[in-house]
Symmetry: C2
């Protein structure tokens, strides 16, 4: 089975991850050749700006200005795409390469989330590899874990912490008791968050990843548009403090469930009980949990971003290609994936945390209590704090288990009330 | 790539796991056919005793009395071995099947630990699959995680909790404050521990698994004989209490390291700091940690035993075979594995916990203190407790970081002292 011809690569995109892949292939070359059964060699590289200093010596690699020439080159066995973006040049390159029968490895979650199935269809027709381990949870081999490791199981639920920037912000807020804006600013200064952080903090990046995991876990068609997304912008320091007092930590959780009720996919800040493994995933770590009907709960944790972990995943894909151990990108032919309708989230049951910032005056508590009563929401615990707050009073409620639509109904009943100083915050509890 | 012919199985061994595999293949058959690209069907079954009631309807499968006929049968594509035992019938069957070019799937850690390389050599020559995901950590896809997921990395260390019985006993002792013998007895009554529990509690089972992980992680030859093994028989309730007071939990940890000093492999009860993920692996769970030079720390956790999780791993292997996605059993040709010498554990540095049960009389503390001083062991903390003990006094010491041979030297200096009521206990600290 060993083939001593090297596997010859073109790398397109030479940012942090591209540099990491080159560094990894150089550093571990002997080991990789042993594991892959043959050497893996970079032949050509391409990026927008040739003159940029990338801290890696690129002089031994052929520079290609026009990446559209790569698909047709017979001296290149695999193209690695690390430029990002769901559409545009990355997508064009992917389509060209796969159609030309060129194996394609990418770290591009946005592209896979939006166009994964159409790309997999092209790959399938050409009988060629489309690999994207680095697109989800960085260095954690969770695509492989679901596609292969847990493949014998009917998976009912897959969920996890899929965005390191959000997790860094939330755990730092928790540790230091500081506010969101201050911690975000610091994360940007430290390079942990982008200048435009919206893809991360608004949950879009996590949603890309979640939709990919859901398709692999459930054997359903990838449905990014079906993900309900709430980011972490509106989590305040007091939420974290109240949650801690109640025995929870707040994490941005991507959660997908599949069953008779349909496909449920949501990214949202949740209250995670302290005895759940996700409560101990700190800083920029990522983690994924899958519940299978025979294996039970599987838990994977590791570094979800950064050049090293991401390069590790990209090169793992290359080793699979070099070994000729790969198959359908979504674990089965695209035609075998089930089209599943979107579940009605309102019918889900669970506990929730509600936080209101209200006027400090008589009658407000009665107003909120009446709204919850009329909506049929049963209250498990309530904390009201006025001290140390500039304006008004903070009211935090944990509900008993109930249907989610009742929470929405509660908020609807309070809409427009001048007792509320700010939009209420709702977070579901991971039970 | 899809092949609609079914993958036809023979299952040898119909204990808990064999029954679980049959149940899994029946329950998830449609899903498995979609994921595998073709149906997976049991054709023949074999076990020692045909008359035994196994709680599964086996009437639709051909019963084979003589398992040695399976290797030659053209209507069987894969043989699954679930009888166990490092040698004997399991090994004979494995050799026969692989030599005849029949793919072979096993959950047999003892056989892989002792004969994995010779079996892999036969498999390699025949170009046929030898798969053993279920041999280590039950349902956790850690063989795949190391063989493929982390394949791009130079791994310096792999370690984990590899025996669910020991972990159940230790966490129950911790929770209830009870003694080893009592908890073991209860575990046996509940079916969590074997009537003869020595393979589990003396660390042999964990050592089998560790030696397999080490070979995959480091690309070194499998060396079960090179594992130093200490079980949990001598952990007493007071050790767990003292460790807790110091901020640790006691876990049976299998640990392997590779580097210029050689290959280090040890199974032993360790003190795990509360902030380490292994400290939160409770009950019968298993977990594996691997430190890679690019990916950083990877952490896998799940159910390490039982029919469901083990069957999940066996069938994952079958799906790989059905998909034709497999290669060298030890991630590279056997000839590419490095022969590594055994490291001198005495030269390792670390902190240690020492516990002495001593006579309650003047001069004993001075005697022990002198022995540590003369051996060059520096003491970080010491607790002496006499209350509530039938005889003597318990003395628990945590050392500063130092070379391990100094600990052995300390004990040698105290050997034969009539101040000691019992053999001292040494546990290393996971730092």
């Amino acid at each position: 089975m060993t083939d001593q011809r090297p596997l010859r690569l073109a790398i397109v995109g030479l940012g942090t991850v591209g540099g990491g892949v080159i560094r990894l292939l150089e550093t571990n070359s002997a080991l990789i050749a042993r594991r892959a059964g043959r050497p893996i060699e970079v032949v050509a590289i391409s990026a927008r700006d040739r003159s940029k200093d990338r801290g890696v010596d690129l002089s031994s690699y052929e520079w290609v200005d026009d990446m559209t020439t790569l698909a047709a080159r017979e001296d290149i066995d695999v193209v690695i795409e690390l430029i990002g973006g769901s559409d545009g040049p990355a997508l064009t390159l992917a389509r060209q390469c796969l159609a030309a029968g060129k194996p394609f490895v990418t770290a591009n979650k946005a592209m896979i989330a939006h166009h994964g199935l159409s790309l997999a269809t092209i790959a399938e027709k050409a009988g060629v590899a489309l690999k994207y381990e680095a697109a989800v949870a960085g260095g954690i081999p969770v695509i492989k874990g679901l596609r292969e490791g847990a493949a014998a199981n009917e998976i009912s639920r897959v969920y996890g912490i899929l965005n390191g920037t959000c997790n860094y912000i939330l755990t730092t807020m928790e540790k230091d008791g500081r506010g969101f804006d201050e911690v975000l600013k610091e994360a940007q200064d430290l390079g942990y968050a982008e200048a435009d952080p919206s893809f991360d903090i608004d949950g879009v990046d996590a949603a890309h990843k979640l939709s990919i995991l859901a398709s692999l876990a459930f054997g359903t068609e990838l449905d990014f548009a079906g993900v309900n997304i709430t980011g972490i912008r509106h989590v305040i320091a007091a939420d974290i403090a109240e949650a801690a007092a109640l025995g929870f930590r707040i994490r941005l959780v991507g959660m997908a469930e599949n069953g008779p009720a349909g496909l449920f996919q949501r990214v949202h800040p949740m209250l995670v009980p302290m005895d759940h493994p996700l409560a101990h995933v700190d800083g920029s770590l990522n983690a994924v949990v899958a519940d299978g009907n025979f294996v039970g709960r599987l838990f994977f944790q590791g570094r979800g971003a950064g050049d090293g972990p991401t390069a590790s995943a990209v090169v793992a894909d290359l080793i699979d290609v070099a070994r000729d151990e790969y198959g359908d990108p979504f674990a089965m032919p695209v035609a075998s994936l089930l089209a599943q309708h979107k579940a009605d989230a309102g019918k889900r049951t669970g506990r929730a945390y509600l936080r209101f910032e209200v006027q400090d005056r008589p009658g407000v508590l009665a107003e909120i209590a009446a709204a919850t009563r009329d909506a049929g929401v049963s209250i498990e615990s309530m904390i009201q704090r006025g001290a140390n707050r500039k304006d008004g009073v903070l009211m935090a409620i944990v509900t008993h288990e109930g249907q989610e639509y009742r929470i929405a109904d509660t908020l609807a009943r309070l809409a427009g009330s001048d007792s509320l100083l700010d939009a209420p915050m709702v977070m579901h509890i991971l039970d």
